[in-house]
């Protein structure tokens, strides 16, 4: 097993696990954090493929646009933490 394969497996596992966390976490903001992690992992995979430009644009466009997702997440969803007193 070479180092390159090891790094690839790590990044791919990061992308897959965070993609699963996007749909499985109960708090919408945790989903958004997982989504950003997924995008960054995919950008790192692009770097491994010697496609630096695609990786940079991936971060610039997708991770930047996650903010808009957060905005909609805050505006359009109910927030449990604010309401429960005992947490």
């Amino acid at each position: 097993m070479t180092w390159e394969l090891l790094v690839f497996v790590f990044l791919a596992a990061c992308a897959l696990v965070s993609a699963l966390m996007v749909i499985h976490s109960r708090e919408i903001m945790h989903s958004v954090i997982a989504l950003a992690t997924c995008f960054v992992s995919v950008a790192c995979l692009y770097v491994m493929l010697n496609a630096e430009f695609v990786a940079i644009v991936q971060i610039l466009v997708y991770v930047g646009a996650v903010v808009v997702v957060i905005l909609f997440g805050i505006m359009l969803t109910k927030r449990e933490i604010m309401e429960s007193e005992r947490r």
Partner: protein
């Protein structure tokens, strides 16, 4: 000799020094133990180990230079604001060097304070937000070379990465995410309002910023810092693209949230904006990182518009770069302490109706100059 070769010499010397000990132990101890220490020595002298240690030393050198500059910037900011408001600024701690040590005293004070996580905060986001903010901001500095020989973002051949300048702006664009995350997860209405304002402001000012930068890319025909600076050997881009330079400075002030655009942390309206619930060294990191982004903004303006390290050869290239970055920072600070804050209902008007058309005109000018064949 560039930074990599310099660090390589130091690391090879250090590895030789330490390997004397391992090989002496290998000779001295019997059988397996001796073989073990000889193996450690061989491993330490291998090419891969030396390359990794060299890169780590390079990162350390660049980090130390950046942090010393950030300390200078904080000191300069406090001194300038003091002079503009007619008081002395930091004075007593290290008064022989103009109160320079005040920052270190403040940092030590923040370092020993208790770190409190509010009970109702969202723990994951609350802890993760400073980490993302600080790491993405330090990532900007990794891409900015102070001269062709002083920088770390190089590929395996030693040449700088082809899209370094674009990468700096990609790293810039991660920050609104962490700011909104911090504002939301603190579970406080002031932080949430601050985070929302910050997201709106940063997202809308990033577009004219990137359009102004796109005109520079167009004129230089390159995404990397070295190519852009070499394209400015004859004339600085601030002269043909003067509108773009002004747009860049204003948008950079908005991106690093200094006073004409410090709505996200407006002290009079929101307590401390999106950093209200943070205390101790987490707040210290936010504070230091905002100045670090100011330094990165000055360095980017220098590299993209003010000719980077070009200058008469009396002074070394790196010093030229830093002088220009300091001048840009002083101009931003002057603006900061002289102008009143933009009101919350005016901020998006300014961004979308004034700066965006100006950036478009600037892009048009750049395209015209390129078509005429002047660049």
């Amino acid at each position: 000799m560039n930074l990599y070769e310099f660090c390589n010499i130091i690391i090879v010397w250090l590895v030789d020094l330490v390997n004397n000990l391992w090989y002496w132990l290998g000779d001295f101890l019997p059988w397996v133990f001796g073989d073990f220490f000889t193996g450690v020595g061989d491993l330490a002298a291998s090419d891969g180990h030396i390359a990794v240690m060299t890169i780590l030393l390079e990162v350390l050198v660049v980090l130390i230079v950046a942090i010393v500059n950030v300390l200078n910037f904080i000191w300069l900011d406090r001194k300038l604001s003091g002079r503009i408001f007619d008081f002395y600024g930091p004075y007593y701690v290290g008064y022989r060097i103009g109160g320079w040590l005040q920052n270190i005293a403040d940092g030590m004070k923040l370092f020993v304070k208790e770190i409190i996580t509010p009970r109702d905060a969202d723990r994951l986001g609350f802890i993760l937000a400073p980490v993302i903010f600080v790491s993405s901001s330090f990532l900007i500095l990794a891409t900015i070379p102070l001269s062709p020989r002083f920088g770390i973002a190089t590929n395996i051949d030693g040449a700088f990465v082809p899209a370094g300048a674009l990468f700096a702006f990609a790293a810039f664009s991660i920050a609104p995410f962490s700011i909104l995350l911090a504002g939301w997860s603190s579970n406080n209405k002031y932080t949430l309002i601050g985070g929302m304002r910050s997201a709106a402001q940063m997202m809308s000012y990033e577009i004219p910023l990137l359009l102004a930068v796109a005109s520079v890319f167009l004129l230089a025909g390159d995404f990397g810092f070295v190519g852009i600076v070499e394209a400015q050997a004859d004339i600085w881009f601030a002269i043909p693209l003067f509108i773009g330079f002004i747009v860049f400075l204003v948008c950079m002030a908005a991106e690093v949230e200094v006073t004409p655009f410090d709505l996200p942390e407006a002290e009079a309206e929101l307590v401390e904006g999106w950093t209200t619930e943070y205390c101790g060294m987490r707040f210290g990191f936010f504070m230091m990182t905002s100045y670090l982004r100011g330094y990165a903004g000055g360095a980017l303006a220098t590299a993209l518009f003010l000719g980077g390290w070009n200058g008469p050869a009396i002074i070394p290239d790196e010093i030229w770069f830093l002088i220009k970055a300091y001048i840009v920072f002083v101009i931003i600070e002057w603006m900061r302490w002289s102008l009143p804050r933009v009101r919350v209902d005016q901020i998006l008007n300014l961004g979308w109706k004034r700066l965006l058309p100006l950036a478009m005109v600037n892009l048009l000018i750049a395209a015209g100059l390129k078509t005429l064949g002047w660049f």
